[in-house]
Symmetry: C2
Subunit: 478 residues, 2 copies
């Protein structure tokens, strides 16, 4: 009983201290732990199982859109990293440098990949000769390293797992189509699998990826009103192709440069899941990425027939869901708290009285609603309920996001809103970086994106008052 | 026509130059390429698709035996690597050292993991308290780095992909059971999925993993008669537990050290697939890990109805196999060579005459046998044929291995055999390392393992003539 109390007490209320709530959930739900090395996390079995489900479903979408997986080396020689000027400037300050192989100093130092554009470009320059070789639609799942000063599990770590797509096309039009297509693959995936609604749009020049001609982003809003960049898609034009000499012979036998894209998402998405759906009892998982979708908890399990029935239910339900039976000797109440903490979508309680009545009790994690269900229709009801929970989480997140999306016509409104209740601020912008800089200095908010869905809020820039070019989403961000 | 000739000419006969044949197959079957950095390979889409199929099926076997996946950091601080004396001696000479994060020199240098025992031990010392926390059955899929002087794609590369299982148990008996269980998971996997028969047994003390109490191995025999260590499983006893202070409270409230194991296989298995099954036309893939199991090649595809029928067949067959339709404008002969090179198990030819007769022609990659099959029973026949090919590859490999397994009672026989026709040599051994060293010096053969299935060949050690303790498999190895 004391231990149970401890478990529940251990979560800080999110309203009281959101960062501490986040850390508590990561730890108490057994998602990740720290290693001895600062900023490097250990992804524990429960956290990794979420990643595997996420990866499997995203990978299927990549393959459906014609992409192939490859594996590139983790090391980049310094001279290779330096081939594209903007790119090296963006990444060199935060890479880990290898200087020795065993006892031998290396002739040239090599870095652990922070991203793999340079490796893919080098490879493409070797394997692309003719228009028949195009497009190349490659992706890789791997880990990358960026030497970060401030780190938080899943959100910003020195090493993280991700996927990076890298494609090469014959024309600028095709590259632009690919860039936008993959952004929509991400947005659809977030909506349909993670139950996270996102804003899609273009980054301003200031926020562009190092070396990109255009960067597009999906932006989501966390429970605390802060924004999270959840995935990006870049159009490189022929900039990298020129730096790496990636040319092909077209149908008219003329040499042409290829046009390239890259796009990535990472374990950061697990941070988004925690901060979009979680509550003061812990994690809340969308059924599609829940390692356990239904936990079966026997009540008075020492009584005859209870465990047998629970096991039978588990076996039957395995046809329609990922099920776990917890028949350990912990108290039922302790188990309730534990699986709430782990965000399991449905708790199934089965005790002697239920068996008598040929029924079970189902409890939804998202709403805490209880329902009594006949065993005769259990499988069908579980399937429906998982779908209902998935939909409800999406609707709830969309509603919260909409409620926390504000409009500002003046800097006073802008500042006041952020200091009252954080969220997305929609405001007009002249297109000048000086205004972005000024807004950031005043409010700590950055431009999240120029959304594809533009709205007319006023005629003038919220900052300088000059004629506005775009409506922009602003926010304080992770 | 010139290009087609070139493709076929490009493979060296394996009897003429086996290493060159291997390199040709890796390159011509589009499995892997080299990166700019010596010893680091690029795994290309076709090679990576094989790895994905292998990984998926092996991972399922790990999960069936109760293991969970995790992800540990790729970096190990030097002080952590040094905690277990034998282990650091074994690995320090071949690790890559990171000395700078961005522009800042690190206070302590860190290495890129060559293997992760130290990281798992550190983690286990934090998360294991009570007997209730045991066993811990963890596995991870990742890449590791060993600074090798001589490298060959898949067989020995500076960076390679692998899985490493790391487990902790309450008793020495349980750890030993786990070590042997996982060795058999590997052996069964090789037999049932890769169609590779292996010898199972224990490594001699000399060949043990750095820090292990006992190392077990699966050894396979390549086409050229050289052996390949294809997977290993180690029992660490409580050596690492003592070095890392991993203790738990047992049921009697006494502190006890855990007993640990680790086990690993890698992309080296792709090297084994190439060298066990391949032939002078290229790769030969066991159906279970073939990214394309059936390639549909339309004959006279410009004629009316041919492509439509080919597409319809492809769609139907997708229910029972991984199918590709090649409707490019290359000649049929060129396509035949290309998919032979890629080791696709079944070629399906469909032309105007076949359509008239409601039939197709199937050609097996393993035997080159042709058969004419009615379209009415095509799906059933394809399923059968894939199974037949899978079985035939295993039987063929077992037969070849058995034919190349020799017995030596004297060093003269031993040497003569290896100089005539290489293979496994079964010979008795006294148990002294001096004899292992002498045999290696004379013949370049190493002890592959002390097989579980012992045979009595003679009473005395093949090298020194003293009383023999074990029958050992010897061979020159990759």
């Amino acid at each position: 009983m004391e231990k149970q109390k401890k478990l529940v007490e251990a979560i800080t209320d999110m309203e009281k201290d959101f960062p501490q709530w986040y850390t508590d959930v990561v730890k108490k739900a057994d998602l990740a732990g720290y290693s001895q090395l600062k900023g490097c996390m250990i992804i524990r079995p429960y956290g990794y199982a979420i990643w595997e489900l996420l990866q499997k479903q995203m990978d299927a979408r990549f393959k459906e859109t014609g992409h192939e997986n490859v594996y590139m080396p983790m090391f980049i020689p310094e001279s290779l990293l330096q081939k594209e000027k903007d790119h090296v400037e963006g990444f060199a300050p935060e890479v880990a440098w290898v200087t020795h192989g065993g006892e031998t100093p290396l002739q040239e130092r090599i870095c652990v990949r922070p991203t793999s554009e340079t490796l893919f470009c080098e490879h493409y320059s070797n394997i692309i000769q003719s228009y028949r070789d195009l497009p190349k639609l490659y992706n890789q799942w791997c880990s990358v390293v960026r030497w970060e000063k401030t780190t938080r599990p899943f959100l910003r770590t020195t090493e993280f797992l991700w996927q990076e797509g890298h494609t090469a096309h014959a024309t600028a039009e095709e590259a632009q189509q690919e860039t936008i297509k993959m952004l929509h693959v991400y947005a659809d995936f977030c909506r349909d699998v993670l139950a996270i609604p996102v804003i899609t749009g273009e980054k301003t020049a200031k926020e562009r990826f190092a070396g990109a001609k255009a960067t597009y982003t999906i932006e989501s809003l966390m429970h605390d009103g802060k924004a999270l960049q959840s995935g990006t898609s870049h159009n490189f034009g022929d900039g990298f192709a020129k730096a790496f000499d990636i040319q092909y012979t077209d149908k008219d036998n003329q040499l042409q440069y290829v046009h390239q894209t890259s796009w990535g998402t990472s374990t950061r998405l697990i941070g988004a899941i925690i901060m979009v759906h979680g509550d003061n009892s812990g994690l809340v998982l969308p059924p599609k990425i829940a390692p356990i979708q239904v936990v079966v908890i026997p009540i008075a399990q020492h009584k005859q027939g209870v465990l047998e029935k629970a096991e039978q239910l588990k076996t039957n339900l395995e046809a329609v869901a990922r099920v776990k039976l917890d028949d350990t000797d912990k108290s039922a109440g302790w188990k309730f708290s534990e699986y709430e903490m782990k965000g399991v979508p449905i708790r199934l309680e089965i005790g002697p009285k239920d068996i008598e009545k040929n029924q079970v009790v189902l409890v939804r994690r998202d709403t805490s609603e209880k329902e009594v269900v006949s065993m005769d229709i259990l499988e069908t009801r579980i399937e429906q309920l998982l779908e209902e929970i998935q939909q409800n989480l999406l609707q709830r997140a969309a509603k919260r996001r909409d409620c926390k999306t504000y409009v500002a016509k003046t800097m006073e409104e802008f500042e006041k809103q952020l200091n009252t209740s954080q969220g997305f601020i929609k405001a007009m912008w002249c297109g000048e970086q000086s205004c972005e800089d000024a807004i950031k200095e005043k409010t700590a908010a950055t431009s999240r994106c120029i959304p594809f869905e533009q709205e007319h809020i006023s005629d003038s820039c919220v900052c300088c008052g000059k004629p506005a070019k775009h409506m922009v989403y602003w926010g304080r961000a992770y």
